[in-house]
Symmetry: C2
Subunit: 567 residues, 2 copies
């Protein structure tokens, strides 16, 4: 499908350079994302526009959200690349047109001829760079083009941006509370909304600051680092070390072979039990677990990381793990560490750390005390915060359900509103003032203060002079008359950039790599004043309009009010 669409776009334009641009953008398109991935009413409206001869009317739509998610005062914008890919490949296949004809049999043939020609060569897409910190009411994207085509884009754009931005924001919030030094692993595939929900989750959690995913397909498609060791089932699938047949292990430097690694492990276990280092631990450790750990170490001597809570962390998991790790150490390998998937993670991480340190000292094993402790089990922003407050020895967190389902708030309400048609500004009124749209084709600027932090976002009419460094500008709340302030910016950043300019690739921003988007997100989070970003009682960031735009909004508002009615 991508291939065909590229060819079609090239036919229109004909240049080789253009072909390359489109081919590049058209890269790894999700085959689910066809022009039919939209609400039926976008097609019924397209027909009504076409019947009325209005389908070529030039419309401007803003895509924005109304309220920050997760009780916070910011969000992170994501999903742009997929929107641009969608636009670049936008072309109805013949069989798709046949399907539309079958469900809209009342429509005239000419309409389907029109649909056959439809593409995005007259569409323009302006957007905030992907990975930016963004705020309510400020357009994340401005989409211009023939009204019928731009409306066909509404549902897929909102679909592609909504969850992407929500889960990126969720990931960023987890990163902020975990701190920079911790490793964050996304383990959510099994709890996501189906296969593609899992793929999107892995991609956008990475952008939001996670370090790796367990999702192999996402690792392959997006180049995200992969992580994973073994599960409880692996542990209970073993009965005892007697099952292990091939017991030989070559030493790390290749100089010698341990013929019976199982026996070496067992001798270390006895030694550990004799030392008294494992306070309170007596009796036997679980033999299934010992066999599973030994087996895993034989397979991955350089990557031995064990899940230690299948039976009892302190009485079985830790002693078994340490015995295997010490046996590996004899052969020159360094074990990675443990994963805890239940229980009191703060307490267990401290206990494990203490034992690791004691062993380092007792047996003079350099680095044993610093082994990685990974924690999983229904973690979320709140539990990370609680762990921090309590103190813990966890180095890495594996987070699944709460991260990818955005359990704390599973939807971001992005909307797509008409703000201008045929150069006429349009406003959508509502009895609920937070639902009133901000009319006009706008420019958006972020004004920075002396300390380098962002102070305010300001929306202006398209033809107003832009804010200037060092010059005072009036920033007004879009709807509340009393809220206004003068700001003297030290730096001005225009937020909306052109990512799609119909057939022309001139002046079009490049789509950055995943790594660059992630880097932008990390940098943006740092450029915000910390009080906007904190978990508890964050300060709202100010979003404003110019004085001129304010006056115009309120003029339009009055003119649209029903006659004879106080609105």
């Amino acid at each position: 499908m991508a291939g065909k669409a590229v060819a079609a776009a090239v036919m229109v334009n004909g240049s080789v350079a253009e072909k390359e641009v489109l081919a590049e953008i058209g890269g790894a398109t999700n085959p689910m994302v066809t022009p039919l991935l939209t609400d039926l009413y976008q097609f019924t409206m397209a027909y009504a526009y076409w019947k009325a001869g209005k389908h070529q009317d030039r419309a401007v739509f803003d895509l924005y959200f109304r309220k920050n998610p997760f009780g916070g005062e910011y969000a992170v914008f994501a999903g742009l690349e997929e929107c641009i890919r969608f636009v670049a490949n936008f072309k109805l296949e013949e069989e798709e047109i046949s399907f539309l004809r079958s469900i809209m049999p009342m429509c005239e043939d000419g309409f389907f001829d029109y649909l056959r020609e439809v593409d995005c060569s007259n569409v323009e897409v302006y957007a905030v760079p992907e990975g930016s910190v963004v705020f309510p009411k400020v357009p994340l994207m401005r989409v211009e083009g023939p009204v019928s085509i731009v409306q066909l884009l509404e549902t897929p754009f909102v679909n592609l941006v909504n969850y992407a931005s929500l889960v990126t924001t969720n990931a960023a919030r987890h990163r902020l509370v975990a701190g920079k030094s911790k490793t964050l692993l996304e383990f959510g595939l099994r709890r996501a909304q189906g296969p593609d929900g899992g793929m999107s989750a892995s991609k956008y959690c990475y952008i939001g600051g996670f370090d790796a995913t367990s999702n192999v397909a996402a690792g392959k498609l997006f180049g995200i680092p992969l992580r994973g060791t073994h599960s409880h089932a692996f542990v209970s699938s073993f009965m005892s070390p007697d099952e292990i047949l091939d017991r030989a292990l070559l030493s790390h430097d290749g100089s010698s072979t341990c013929k019976d690694f199982v026996r070496l492990v067992q001798s270390w276990l006895s030694k550990l039990q004799r030392t008294g280092l494992l306070r309170g631990v007596f009796g036997e450790t679980n033999q299934s677990e010992l066999a599973a750990f030994t087996s895993y170490a034989l397979a991955f001597p350089n990557d031995f990381l064990a899940l230690v809570d299948t039976y009892d962390v302190m009485k079985s998991g830790i002693p078994n793990f340490c015995a295997v790790a010490l046996a590996l150490n004899d052969l020159g390998y360094k074990a990675r560490g443990i994963r805890l998937d239940s229980g009191d993670l703060a307490y267990l991480s401290f206990e494990a750390r203490n034992i690791f340190h004691a062993i380092e000292k007792e047996f003079n094993v350099a680095g044993f005390g610093k082994m990685t402790v990974t924690a999983s089990n229904d973690l979320n922003e709140e539990t990370l915060d609680a762990l921090n407050k309590q103190g813990h020895e966890v180095d890495a967190f594996g987070i699944g359900t709460n991260l990818v389902t955005c359990y704390a708030q599973p939807a971001l309400g992005c909307v797509f509103k008409l703000v201008e048609i045929n150069n006429q500004p349009r406003i959508k009124l509502s009895e609920d003032v937070t639902k009133v749209s901000i009319p006009c084709k706008k420019r958006i600027f972020r004004l920075y203060g002396r300390e380098g932090y962002a102070l305010v976002d300001i929306m202006t009419g398209e033809n107003e002079p832009p804010p200037t460094v060092g010059e005072r500008i009036l920033c007004r709340h879009p709807f509340s008359e009393s809220k206004r302030a003068y700001v003297v910016p030290q730096h001005v950043e225009e937020l909306l950039k052109c990512y799609w300019l119909g057939n022309s690739s001139k002046r079009r921003e490049e789509l950055p790599s995943l790594e660059k988007i992630r880097a932008r997100c990390m940098q943006q989070l740092e450029q915000m004043r910390p009080d906007h970003m904190r978990r508890l009682n964050p300060t709202p960031y100010k979003v404003s309009v110019s004085g001129k735009l304010y006056d115009f909004i309120h003029f339009l508002w009055l003119s649209e009010a029903p006659v004879g009615e106080l609105q």
Copy 2:
């Protein structure tokens, strides 16, 4: 990909009949769902099993959930068809193996040769029929096969079942509260977890009892009825009726043409304003809206349904709608009705209904009073319930965000636990008793009472005699000694049926059509005692084990407890 996998499976088996079965199952596979759509640890474990020579060990895993979602006492099982398709197509492509080799460079070549041969010809999948009402702890699926292969299936199976079952359950709950007579429309595409989240939502909401979707791609792929009319943007894209150039409309019977439909509408509007039927409405209605409605009616004279809340429902939307509907009526067309997307839906629906009835009487327009009132705007189970209690005149509900994101509980915690390996039963213990797994390869029976309602589900060991109609059987709580009861079933249904039997298609259940799955779901909801299904304080349905299985669980439990420790 599907094609290749079928060919590979056929090579193993060779029969033409088999090829057809596989080709059929392999039908519309989601291209996202490849064997790499799994957690990395499934591959690292596969390697460890392979290294230990354990990879062919015959394992039995149960897939089940632990707690009913949405504060209810039931769930609906869905996602089975996609699991079976996945199994039928399970084959690693050469480039996928190359990728695995690149991320697991420490693994021996022989392992990748092994992966190259891996398929599901030795796997068996038993499952509760899709669309069944199901309960915690009872296996929804039992998967048997070589341990390394069955573990590779864990993540995709849980991914495919978790959200599918959750959103089907959510849809079923909405259907139960809305009642049979209402039309339920799924409008969630823009708020779902990406494109495939939207596709899954449409499919499974239909199974759970919704009547139609707005998602065109889902309509095409699954044959689900489609619904949709127009948005607020359509209304505000018009300035005034002067814009409408082609004003002619052929009458419904084709006998005459109204040359200026716009004028006919306007004359009806004046007539309405003079009658006083529109109590309290004076002054002008909104001209953008009037133009949009007129235009939409010109495009869809047989399907005129208008969104009436862009400006003011009672002062503009309803009068404009009625004028257009009456003009259509003059030409022999019947308008469909209105959609309300804001405000007090109960009140507005009553007001609209009153006006429709008054117009039917005043102008003698048969059926005008019965026009459809559709409501949307952030609806959920709770608001439907509140509307019912308050009384309303809504015929159809359009539900999006809360439905598809499962806002009230966005995750179902399906797990996949080892219950037997090489004929040895395995149990997963936990300090939390709700997390203890029920060991052994089991059979599951649903016992029905005299009134036709299901009484209890009972799990038995594989080789126990099954429950018999009219014979008393002891049903025990799996973990609580004191909870037990004798039941005399009037009807016994074995729940787990074979859906995949390796290479053989013998004794394998057919995969039913979407319509049949939906019908099963609707029928199952009726077969449950209403007190299990009610919203408020539902009665828990009983899930039990046989006396023999109870004894065995507790024997195993004791034998796994750490030595010298009271667990």
